[in-house]
Amino acid sequence: MYQYDTYDQAMVDARVAEFSDQVARRLAGTLGEEQFRPLRLKNGLYLQLHAYMLRVAIPYGTLNSAQMRMLGQIADRYDRGYGHFTTRQNIQYNWIRLEDAPAILTDLASVGMHAIQTSGNCIRNTTADHFAGAAADEVADPRPYAELLRQWSTFHPEFDYLPRKFKVAIIGSETDRAAMRLHDIGIRVVRNTAGEEGLKIYVGGGMGRTPMIAPVIRDWLPAQQMVSYLEACLRVYNRHGRRDNKYKARIKILVHELGADEYRRQVEEEFAHILTLGLEPPPAELARIKAQFADPPFDPAAIEAIDLSDPDFALWVDQNVHPHKAPGHAIVTISLKPAGGIPGDASADQIRLIADLARDYSHDELRVTHAQNVVLPHVRRADLPAIWQQLDAAGLATANLDLIGDIIACPGLDYCSLANARSIPLAQKISARFADVERQRDLGELKLKISGCINACGHHHAGHIGVLGVDRKGVENYQLLLGGSEGADTSLGTIVGPGFSEDGLVDAIERATEFYRAQRQPGERFLDTYRRLGAAPFKEAIYA
């Protein structure tokens, strides 16, 4: 994976110095909160309901064991002994003191990490396929492009005060594991018939209160023009995106109001001009980055066969292990969704154990997924039993990947100052109701996503079952959505009917899943049955 050189490290170090100075001025009272707010946000520091929250960037969700170990150390030293992995492939700490923020950033910088642009109206940390470089179905590794984007977007002087936040996701496989078309810009690395890499560019997707699936703006962009083209996309947005209403300020509204054709025309005009300016890093730079994402030395003697006589182990292998591109290897996803647990939470000890497993078994590599789990991307199948035993001993071997217990949930009203309702207790109740893994497996792939407000951090629009928390006359109320999806068949869920109390919602979900069991045809997932039958019969069953 990518290693910082002295230039990259100097930039991170300079940022720590700058922010330390800003915090000192804030604590001394010479910098007001209004002016400090965007500065702290660009360093990932939010003021939440009870404390500051620090969001640490994990660029394209990739990190090594030393970095992971540092995340555990920070949880112990500055938080309450745990961290929370998020839908942005990042980690958040919920109990941070402002005075400690410079020291935390210093600790992070010591392992090449930071919190740069994890919030604010700027280009956020780029996300990517969490199986990049390992997936059996990969066309091209998206991470070199994501790293090029990281560098280009870091402290970009023109795009630091955009109308609203800006998120880019990039994939290089046929399967979309990054909800790519639900981002401000989605990029798919593709190959033409000559075998050359190019990029397919989607602009104007997003969730929030106005969910939209991004249209294609460029079918084929030569890979060596990515930076120039994104400069053009961003400049059109910075100049013409709406600033009169923060709820209409995302680029999806601009693209929608202009129409994809007119937005494309304006981008192409700007792009033609920008191409004359020489802004594009040379091919040698992409080659330099690509070399650092070369495959680790996979074991050519790794064998496929493993002993599956232990039924619990066999269950876990079946559910949480994916095919790897190298023979005899596999991709392990560690579920951070134990029955009744808080989705995405991990204790400092668990974080350190995962770091050790990465060092010992996965070529020192880890990934964080947008579904709030952690991946060991490159393990030998022969090592799976040893990995499983260690995970199981630490409460990390829940075999529920992509099942109803693998819930995505935002922090909700337990932490977030924007939330209308709590997400975590609801997720825990649903998880407890469906705790039986065999029952979960019988229900099959079922993506359940919970947001505690309309901002949709829990991706409720994209859940096969989505839940939106609202405030109804001072009482928490939950709306149920069905039919969303984030993959190749991206679709947006629709609200079934009147909302529910917390307990009522858990019952409603159970009625929906029981109705699915009664109606499904062989091989049909919940989503497939819903799409075949439509909303009406589900509604009837749920409100019966």
Binding site: D5, Y7, D8, A10, M11, A14, A17, E18, Q22, Q35, P38, L39, N121, Q151, W152, T154, F155, H156, P157, E158, F159, D160, Y161, L162, P163, R235, N238, R239, R243, H273, L277, G278, L279, P281, P282, A284, E285, R288
Partner: protein, 142 residues
């Protein structure tokens, strides 16, 4: 020129009256103009030879349209003074300079020393813009 203007250029400051963008067409000889965030900087491109001062207004520091306006003017060869006016804050100074501003008229005074300190913050930069600095990728590949 108000006392509070800080210039990073050595030539004599313009003494011409600054006209609003909307009045520029009617003021055939004006050499100084002020752009508001919603004004189209590209409309100035035919007049660049004539202009010696362009003020770009920042009514609020968080409206970033002026950054694009400035960079567009420099990309098209404007060499006169480019002045950021209004809610101009020390923590944005290095970005202002990177997109082509070379003068500041902040609502709240900023010392020249503070500006020099801010401009020294970043050892290198990642992007090629209009400030003449070589980006890190160029340094890597000589």
């Amino acid at each position: 020129m108000p006392d509070t203007v800080i210039r990073l250029r050595d030539d004599a400051a313009s003494t011409a009256p600054v006209v609003a963008f909307a009045e520029l067409a009617a003021q055939g000889n004006a050499t100084a103009v002020r752009l508001q965030p919603g004004d189209d900087a590209r409309a100035l491109l035919p007049l660049l030879d004539r202009l010696e001062l362009v003020e770009v207004a920042f009514p609020g520091f968080n409206d970033g349209r002026g950054y694009s306006a400035a960079r567009i003017l420099r990309e098209h060869g404007y060499t006169g003074e480019l002045r950021a006016v209004g809610d101009v804050l020390i923590d944005q100074i290095s970005h202002y300079v990177r997109v082509g501003f070379d003068a500041f008229a902040p609502d709240q005074p900023i010392s020249r020393a503070a500006i020099d300190h801010a401009l020294a913050t970043w050892p290198e930069v990642y992007q090629r813009t209009v400030d003449g600095r070589q980006p890190i990728w160029a340094l890597r590949h000589g």
